[in-house]
């Protein structure tokens, strides 16, 4: 579940702040972002999708995200997270000994991806991407192995992405959608990932407002369970549907700052908590 902490944030805050339905970078251009996101949860969705309490855990991720066009149709993407996972100190009203707070800092799972533009038309574009989730994080951190900054397995996410732009009352909008399959190893269940996003630039194009709805659904075809892997189960059979928004403020033509907020609408085996994010981006 700890790894799935990461999903709650990364689902939303890795997005690039394009104002149009352009999926790949042009050759020699790029987008680079120093970001951070945070959430703290004292409840979680159970395997039945119900809510149960838990000791308060938080995660703070500082990340470097970059995408660079090596051709007009091929973009390389990289994401390097630096993750801090913590749990609150546990105390009792009686004064009896509790459990001290704990924190684990580690690099997380690095994502490397290549995006390929398949079709491009004036009003829409079609692309595909392959993301490799490198198990560079710690999947057994902390005193009990549950302070995970990675799931310890090799993710391979194949996505198809489509986008379009349109106008409503002479105001320009864009919309994007994606369908992806995450082929997971080491006994983890495979996943399907769906995403929708729409946004528009406002206030003389100084701000970009966008809304995202993402979901992850499990195929439940993995073999991991509490019976055979008490630690890794945190990251298996996870489902979540998340709704969030983001405000991007263009400081200059190249620099922008963002602030995002998202909440899980439903889920299984995942913490329930809103996520906050911010970042500074540079557009080359």
């Amino acid at each position: 579940m700890q790894k799935r902490f990461l999903l709650l944030g990364s689902l939303f805050f890795l997005g690039i702040t394009f104002g149009t339905a352009q999926w790949t970078q042009k050759k020699g251009t790029g987008y680079y972002k120093l970001g951070a996101w945070f959430l703290e949860a004292d409840q979680h969705y159970t395997d039945k999708g119900l809510l149960d309490p838990n000791a308060t855990r938080g995660i703070f991720v500082t990340s470097l995200y970059g995408r660079h066009g090596i051709t007009d149709k091929i973009t390389l993407v990289g994401y390097i997270p630096f993750t801090s996972v913590y749990q609150n100190e546990q105390t009792f009203t009686s004064g009896n000994p509790g459990q001290p707070g704990e924190v684990v800092n580690s690099i997380g799972d690095i994502d490397l991806a290549v995006e390929v533009q398949i079709l491009k038309r004036p009003k829409w574009v079609l692309a595909t991407s392959l993301t490799l989730g490198i198990p560079s994080g710690n999947n057994s951190g902390g005193s009990d192995g549950s302070y995970q900054t990675g799931d310890g397995e090799f993710n391979q996410i194949l996505k198809v992405l489509a986008g379009t732009s349109f106008k409503i009352a002479k105001h320009s909008f864009y919309a994007k959608g994606s369908v992806g399959v995450n082929n997971r190893s080491n006994g983890f269940s495979d996943e399907i990932r769906l995403g929708l996003e729409t946004g528009s630039q406002v206030f003389k194009n100084k701000f970009l407002l966008l809304v995202r709805l993402n979901t992850i659904q499990s195929f439940y075809n993995g073999s991991l369970s509490a019976e055979n892997s008490n630690g890794s189960i945190f990251a298996n059979n996870v489902e979540v549907t998340n709704l969030g928004g983001e405000i991007n403020y263009f400081l200059t033509k190249k620099w922008s700052a963002s602030f995002g907020y998202s909440i899980p609408l439903s889920g299984k085996n995942i913490y329930k908590a809103p996520a906050l994010a911010g970042g500074i981006a540079y557009k080359l």
Binding site: D47, K48, T56, S84, Y86, N88, Q90, S146, W255
Partner: protein, 368 residues
Amino acid sequence: MYKKILFFISFLLYLSCIGTDVTDDYVDPTLRITSPQIISIKVGQKFQFTAKYFDTSGTQIENPNLIWTVSPPDALTIDDSGFATATSDGDATIQVSVVTALGNTISAETSFTISKAVTVITETTTTTTDTGTTTTVSNTNTSTTSSNTSTLTDTGSTTSTSTTGTGTTTTDPDSTTNTSTTTEVEEPVVTETTTTTTDTETTTTVSNTNTSTTGSNTSTLTDTGSTTSTSTTGTGTTTTDPDSTTNTSTTTVDNDVVVTAPQSYQGTIQTTSSYKLTGSYEYGLNDAGQLVLDIAGDYEASTALPGLYVYLSNNPNSTSGSYEIAEVTVFNGAHSYTLPSSIDISDYKYILYWCKPFNVKVGDSTIF
């Protein structure tokens, strides 16, 4: 712009500070009689009562100031340590109380029956009879009177017997022959063998005295060793020949305190969360005398539960001060946990299933 960036990052860092979760672990203080539960005890017997006091967090308080009382007061005597002696028969109640840190008095009690003591006596009496003989005494009367007296002194028996015979004087004045015959019936000589049984408190002596020469005798038991006198009578038969008597009397006594230490408890584990966790169990001593938690075949737990552990605790809301039995590795079907000998069956009141990473209770059961 850089100040804005710095402010923004500082704000996010502030959000990630480790805080404190506070769990309310209050439970009502409890006082528990932990000595085996008595069904019955006999007058004169002694028993050590014990009790444990747990405070508002379920933590056992060492050496509490326990106050022991008896109802009715003359049923037993009991000292400050809970050591009791039964003094009279009837129903009785032992109550123990303690004053909590908040000044309240809490108590616990146990009731049982006190019965009269009975002693087992196996008595064997052997009577040996001196063979009865007929002694003929002849003497010669040397006097000229018409009568004479003969005296028989039988030194061969344990009892002297004398008899007087009379004779007839013949016409010959110079010679009188007087013959008297005496038949002596000798009293039986009784040799008794007495078996004495000693009860747990004092020695009870049985004395058996044969007081008659008739064919039966009576033995009387007087038990002066217990607080209640018990007597019994046995009868024997003397045969006419070969002059022996065997007398046996038997009385039954039970020297044990009848107790019923709870040997096992049965219950059901129930989920306290949204995770599936259910199953029945038996908690008690096995044939080898080991304390065992036997989970039955109807047990089932969600395999989505990470870091699940099972505990014994005196606080249903906390694992602080509890005993961690084991990490749960069986999620379906029967299995068991053998507990160390240092744990008594009455030491813990609750079984807890606890998710360690979430630090939250998933299920529980109240043992007693």
